[in-house]
């Protein structure tokens, strides 16, 4: 275990990045396969939890909004094909979506930009958010070409894509756009899209809309009857075997 060498090993927290947990790309070790419902990449901390099994307890309006997010993936209307290719690759890197099933983050962002559902402010040295997105797409491709990948960001190796995103996150790219602010603009939209999706709620064990029934068990370690416990350190291969789930 990575936790053993540390100064003060926080029991049960060794999987966290700041406590020595791995942040390498690729499937995280010790993370169970999802057994119920869907999570992005079918891994998650709550393998037996599917928030969508509780939809009969949600109000009709909320149910429609959330289910549409799953079932009705909008066509791209704002980004062109080349931008979409670059930005899909970017979204995959910043969200570590390295396999199917993926939450269609770029489609959700595209719909928001196309419909003009913006956030109500723009930095004085930045263009409006839709234009920022286009410039980020161009910037990612330009940065990939500078590093020798003529076909742009999406065609770059995994290492190069990670390196470029790393520099983007630290504001170290040489673009016309103020890079640090551009990072916050695009990430705000990316995170809002990803974590508005019930597959992501399954992965993190979020209780969901819970209206009108609400929550009653507020104490430490307490759960509603439909919530599930997290699982740590379960070997996914052995688990499938032990449970006879082949």
């Amino acid at each position: 275990m990575a936790a053993t060498a540390r100064r003060r090993p926080p029991e049960g927290a060794g999987h966290l990045p700041k406590q020595g947990g791995s942040i390498e790309p690729g499937p995280p070790a010790e993370l169970p396969r999802q057994r119920r419902g869907t999570t992005p990449q079918m891994r998650g901390r709550y393998p037996d939890y599917d928030v969508l099994e509780t939809i009969d307890h949600w109000d009709a309006l909320t149910r429609r909004v959330v289910l549409d997010r799953v079932a009705m993936v909008p066509e791209l209307r704002f980004f062109d094909e080349a931008e979409a290719r670059t930005l899909k690759a970017f979204c995959d890197v910043v969200l570590a979506q390295d396999a199917e099933p993926r939450i269609p983050v770029l489609a959700l962002v595209d719909a928001k930009l196309y419909e003009g559902r913006l956030d109500g402010f723009r930095y004085d040295d930045m263009p409006a958010d839709p234009e920022t997105w286009r410039q980020v797409a161009a910037g990612l491709d330009a940065s990939a070409r500078e590093s020798g990948c003529e076909d742009g960001f999406a065609a770059a190796s995994s290492e190069l894509r990670h390196e470029i995103v790393e520099r983007f996150a630290h504001g170290e790219l040489d673009w016309e756009l103020p890079v640090e602010k551009a990072w916050t603009v695009v990430m705000r939209a990316v995170l809002a899209a990803f974590y508005s999706h019930p597959w992501a709620w399954n992965e993190i064990g979020f209780g969901g809309p819970a209206y009108p029934r609400g929550f009653a068990r507020l104490g430490a370690g307490q759960r509603e009857h439909w919530e599930a416990p997290p699982e740590f350190a379960r070997d996914p291969e052995a688990d499938v075997h032990e449970r006879g789930l082949e």
């Binding site: 927290a13 909320t62 402010f121 064990g205 809309p209 370690g221």
Partner: protein, 563 residues
């Protein structure tokens, strides 16, 4: 005995002169009887035209209507029906926020939108967390006491009866409050979730006192408003009607007493005549410009839209905008420094449960010379939902696999935050940008830069949050720097050279123009502003109603649109 009776009856007691909670439908959340709402004719001169149906505007409307005034409220956003318009979903709450274009600048730009700007009937209180603390007596005299900011032209004592009355109307639930002017609350404290108990324990070990509340959420049913169901979506609009916002606390009673709330009407200009008095307000409804004449106008659009409307209301007589002869409109906008620190615990905390506002400490509220800066901060709790939590994780510098890992760990975390009193500065201001919005009105630009005192306050408060979580034995921490709330921009003052309005909210330059929202605050304390905005409006209404303010001079009723 009297105390026991009070406790036994607490949920059943009606607030004085406000039947809102009883006018609502027990089974539906929307305001009933809108089809019977009074409608003023287009050329009918109303006694008071209020721009904005939020904390300031709705409270003023309800009070004045009870005094028999003819009141019209223009509201840019929709007349919400929580059943039909709101979803129990974080991303789906986008419609609740003011998302029209605005520009932000300065060295420490303030993000607007969902963080601090509401739209629609109920205003920002529709999506505030629910904390409703009073200001401290010291807040009204920070210049005298601490040599910073400005003194208010009114004292705490003048607001106190209005605080008490509003605490019954919302109603406010919480423990006996030991700070500021010590006081109790009409409803007892709500139960507290797992995370808040851990943070509380950490604070206790450091000798920091925390108390439950005060929140504008009835503890028990209240009139026809049901009990809170602890689903944690306070910031997304309360579909239950348990959390107080003017939509449920003042609008129903206002409408019952003859107020018209004209929603989806964007005020574009306040018109004035040759004598320098307001004649009414021009507004856009369904793309058409209309005009409503009024004896007096009260602007309650909050710290960005109120200055914007005043600055846009230029004329030959007021070339720099209304009430702006001294170039003070839009200056002194304040936000509170509101960093948050999350701590990781071995047990599941599930911080999405229970309302985000749980416990609060005002122990560090006033100046302590040993800290090396003026004024202070309060410590509060927050319970971010998944998108809010993702923004928190990102702000600590994580993306990709690291972000996903911290997100998967969501249920083990709890988050506490502070509200730091940042000082008013003239250069932190709202101006009109060159760009215009879809109505053709120039958009607002907000510049914000912190001063050294602000930075020292935020840094100290953040250390305190880390210390509490460490004492609570958190296994890991994540930090986000952010701002909360908006006040100032049209400060009240005791002389025309120091502010935009006098102690009666009346523009120094214009006898029948009032500003009645958070923008009149000369300083902001470290308390959440909602209750104080309502209390200010309540006080103004009382003074107008009692004719303690020279009433706007009545002229012959005039028909027609002025040139």
């Amino acid at each position: 005995m009297r105390e026991r009776l009070r406790v036994a009856l607490k949920g059943a007691r009606r607030p004085p002169e406000n039947d809102s909670a009883f006018l609502l439908d027990p089974h539906r959340r929307g305001v009933p009887g809108l089809e019977r709402m009074r409608r003023f004719r287009p050329h009918e001169t109303v006694d008071m035209l209020i721009v904005g149906a939020g904390a300031g505007g709705a409270t003023l409307a309800q009070r004045l209507a009870r005094r028999g005034w003819k009141v019209l409220v223009l509201e840019a956003g929709p007349f919400w029906d929580p059943d039909e318009d709101w979803v129990s979903d974080e991303a789906g709450a986008h419609e609740l926020y003011w998302t029209e274009p605005r520009v932000i600048g300065g060295q420490d730009p303030v993000e607007l939108g969902k963080n601090n700007c509401g739209r629609g009937v109920g205003g920002s209180m529709v999506h505030y967390a629910g904390f409703t603390p009073r200001f401290h007596p010291s807040d009204f005299e920070v210049r005298t006491r601490d040599g910073v900011g400005a003194d208010w032209p009114i004292s705490y004592q003048e607001l106190k009866p209005h605080y008490e009355r509003l605490e019954q109307e919302l109603p406010v639930a919480g423990e006996w409050w030991p700070w500021g002017d010590p006081h109790g609350y009409p409803h007892g404290p709500h139960p507290v979730g797992a995370g808040a108990l851990r943070a509380w324990e950490g604070a206790r070990r450091l000798g920091i006192r925390m108390c439950v509340g005060p929140v504008g959420i009835a503890n028990g049913s209240f009139g026809h408003r049901p009990h809170c169901i602890y689903r944690g979506f306070c910031l997304q609009g309360c579909k239950v009607n348990a959390k107080a916002s003017p939509l449920v606390t003042h609008i129903p009673d206002a409408i019952e007493h003859g107020v018209e709330v004209r929603a989806e009407c964007m005020a574009s200009r306040i018109e004035t005549d040759e004598s320098g008095r307001c004649t009414g307000v021009a507004y856009l409804q369904e793309g058409r410009e209309r005009f409503q004449p009024a004896e007096a106008v009260a602007v309650a659009g909050y710290s960005i839209e109120t200055p914007r409307l005043l600055l846009n209301s230029t004329s030959a007589r007021f070339p720099h905008g209304l009430a702006n002869n001294n170039d003070l409109v839009g200056r002194g906008v304040m936000v509170q420094g509101a960093p948050q620190v999350a701590g990781r615990f071995g047990e599941e905390m599930r911080m999405y449960k229970a309302p985000p506002p749980e416990i609060n400490s005002e122990q560090f509220y006033e100046t302590d010379p040993s800290r090396g800066f003026a004024r202070g901060f309060s410590i509060q709790t927050v319970g971010p939902l998944p998108i809010g939590w993702a923004e928190h994780v990102l702000a600590d510098g994580h993306w990709g696999q690291a972000l996903r890992e911290y997100m998967r760990d969501y249920n083990h975390w709890y988050t506490i935050g502070v509200l730091c009193e940042l000082l008013p500065r003239a250069e932190n201001r709202v101006r009109l940008a060159e760009e215009t919005d879809r109505h053709g009105i120039p958009i607002a630009r907000l510049d914000y830069t912190q001063c050294d005192n602000d930075r020292a306050n935020i840094a100290f408060a953040k250390q305190k949050l880390h210390a509490i979580l460490e004492a609570a034995e958190a296994q890991d921490v994540l930090t986000i720097d952010r701002y909360a709330h908006l006040v100032g921009g049209c400060a009240m003052s005791d002389s025309p050279g120091c502010g935009v309005v006098d102690s009666d909210h009346r523009a120094w330059d214009i006898p029948n123009l009032f500003v009645t929202d958070g923008s009149v605050m000369p300083t902001q304390g470290s308390a959440n502003p909602a209750l104080t905005i309502m209390a200010l409006a309540s006080r103004l209404a009382e003074r107008l109603g009692d004719k303690r303010i020279r009433p706007p001079v009545r002229r012959r009723r005039r028909v027609g649109v002025p040139a």
